[in-house]
């Protein structure tokens, strides 16, 4: 069976989810590998959610919010912007490839950009192969 990446996407309600909606209503074909979870703001995405998704079998995680300056709640996406580099640091120390988690800004009018982004990320994660986390933790129990 060929490997199909499972990617979890956390999209903010006001820009990125609306952007994804636009890609849909515009009938743009793009990779079906993204499982979208709508949140009210990208700042609602606790790093715990991202790490939990990876621990439970996601091969990649996409975080998307409004462009800096465009946040519906004026400051939320700056909080996300500051969390992201620390999250990357932590994931690197846990041996997770950098390309598996991405933060992108997608506005409500960027349907095409969203579709391209999902296609690109899907291929990126496909090239990395399945995430080692879930299978690795199962193997630990067999090691002993």
């Amino acid at each position: 069976m060929t490997f199909e990446p499972k990617i979890v996407g956390f999209l903010c309600n006001w820009c990125s989810y609306t952007g994804a909606d636009l890609a849909g209503t515009s009938r743009i074909h793009y990779a079906p590998n993204l499982r979208i979870i709508r949140v009210m703001c990208s700042a609602r995405i606790d790093p715990t959610f991202v790490i939990k998704a990876l621990a439970e079998g996601a091969d990649g995680v996409l975080i998307a919010g409004c462009h800096p300056g465009d946040c519906h709640y004026s400051e939320g996406n700056y909080k996300t912007m500051r969390r992201y580099p620390l999250l990357k640091k932590l994931l690197r120390d846990y041996g997770i490839e950098e390309e598996r988690v991405r933060l992108e800004w997608v506005s409500a009018s960027e349907g095409h950009l969203f579709a391209d982004l999902v296609n690109e990320m899907t291929e990126q994660v496909r090239a990395l192969g399945p995430s080692p986390v879930k299978s690795g933790l199962a193997l630990d129990m067999a090691e002993r």
Partner: protein, 326 residues
């Protein structure tokens, strides 16, 4: 009381500090001795593994184990004590969450052996060898416990009834936990629910911290404690000193922040926190005073080795548990 309670205290991958913390209860230990027969406690009394093996299942009223599981001996004794005891307690941060030993989960067994036994400059070239589970010397076969690829917390190996957090647990909480167990076993008080964290509170460390929070936290750089003359009355995070209190359970008496040292998270995740490291990402990011990605990176450079700070005692029980790199 008709009969003495039967107890065992054991250490796995630990520094010995937890055993000392039990003795730190001073004269209270004499009450423990009056109430209990100590059947196994390697640091304090004589007692052999074979004596434990000869016990009936459930013969021990309480087994208290500190330390994580690093090798096959730790696992064997953890399973043995579980089988022989009515109540099995994971005592201290290592038993509860993997503790400091589980920082080794961010690297591999091979890398540890290489650093410790092969590349170590204080070992003479002819003597460089790694510990082998089985070796032959002069016609005799010698066996050592097998060193695992990673460190495990006790509840990843056996069923744990109660947890007592702390590195080590403070004497007052050690005492409170022992009293709670004795009262439960003698029917003087209801037993805490299974899986409970005993000897600690249901709130975050900040709730008990006497330092004042005066303003909105906004910082332009982080400081290690020795890099700054700190104000002893103001929140450490507000002064740019990374403190884990916000994601950590209270119960220690706020000992570190009261003496000018940031909380390091040894009492484990606060109620509602799944992974201290993940929560501390949010805590740290929310105080950085910048909206410019380059400046944010520069500010974060003043916070070296974030992961080992944020998951200092909890790598084994964090969501990812260990490094997944090749």
């Amino acid at each position: 009381m008709p009969e003495k309670l039967q107890i065992a205290i054991y250490w796995g991958a630990a520094c010995g500090g937890c055993d000392v913390s039990v003795l730190d209860t001073n004269e209270f230990i004499l009450d423990v001795d009056a109430l209990c027969d100590v059947r196994l406690w390697p640091i304090a009394v004589d007692g052999k593994y074979k004596d434990v093996e000869a016990m009936a299942d459930g013969e021990l009223d309480v087994a208290i184990m500190n330390g994580a599981v690093r090798n096959s001996e730790n696992e064997h004794i953890a399973k043995l004590l579980r089988q022989k005891s009515k109540i099995f307690v994971a005592y201290g941060s290592c038993a509860y969450m993997g503790g400091i030993p589980s920082l080794a989960n961010l690297t591999s067994r091979d890398a540890i052996f290489e650093t410790l036994f092969m590349a170590n400059p204080s070992i003479e070239p002819g003597n460089r060898t790694v510990p082998l589970p089985v070796s032959k010397v002069g016609g005799h076969q010698l066996e050592l416990p097998r060193f695992y690829e990673r460190v495990y917390a006790l509840n990843q190996i056996v069923d744990v009834d109660y947890y007592v957090p702390g590195c080590p647990p403070v004497p007052s909480q050690c005492k409170a936990a022992i009293l709670a167990l004795v009262q439960a076993l003698t029917g003087q008080a209801p037993a805490p629910p299974k899986g409970a964290v005993v000897g600690a509170f249901e709130r975050a460390l900040c709730d008990d911290c006497p330092r004042t929070r005066t303003q909105e936290k906004k910082i332009k750089r982080f400081y290690r404690p020795w890099e700054i003359m700190q104000d002893p009355d103001v929140c450490l995070m507000e002064q740019g000193i990374f403190c884990a209190g916000i994601a950590t359970r209270s119960g220690c008496g706020v000992r570190c922040p009261k003496s000018g040292i940031p909380c390091r998270g040894c009492y484990g995740p606060a109620p509602g926190v799944v992974d201290q490291g993940a929560k501390l990402i949010s805590a740290v990011s929310s105080i950085i005073d910048s909206k410019d990605p380059d400046e944010i990176d520069r500010i974060l450079e003043t916070l070296p080795d974030f992961t080992s700070f944020a998951n200092r005692y909890s790598v084994a029980t964090s969501l990812l548990q260990r490094s997944h790199g090749q």
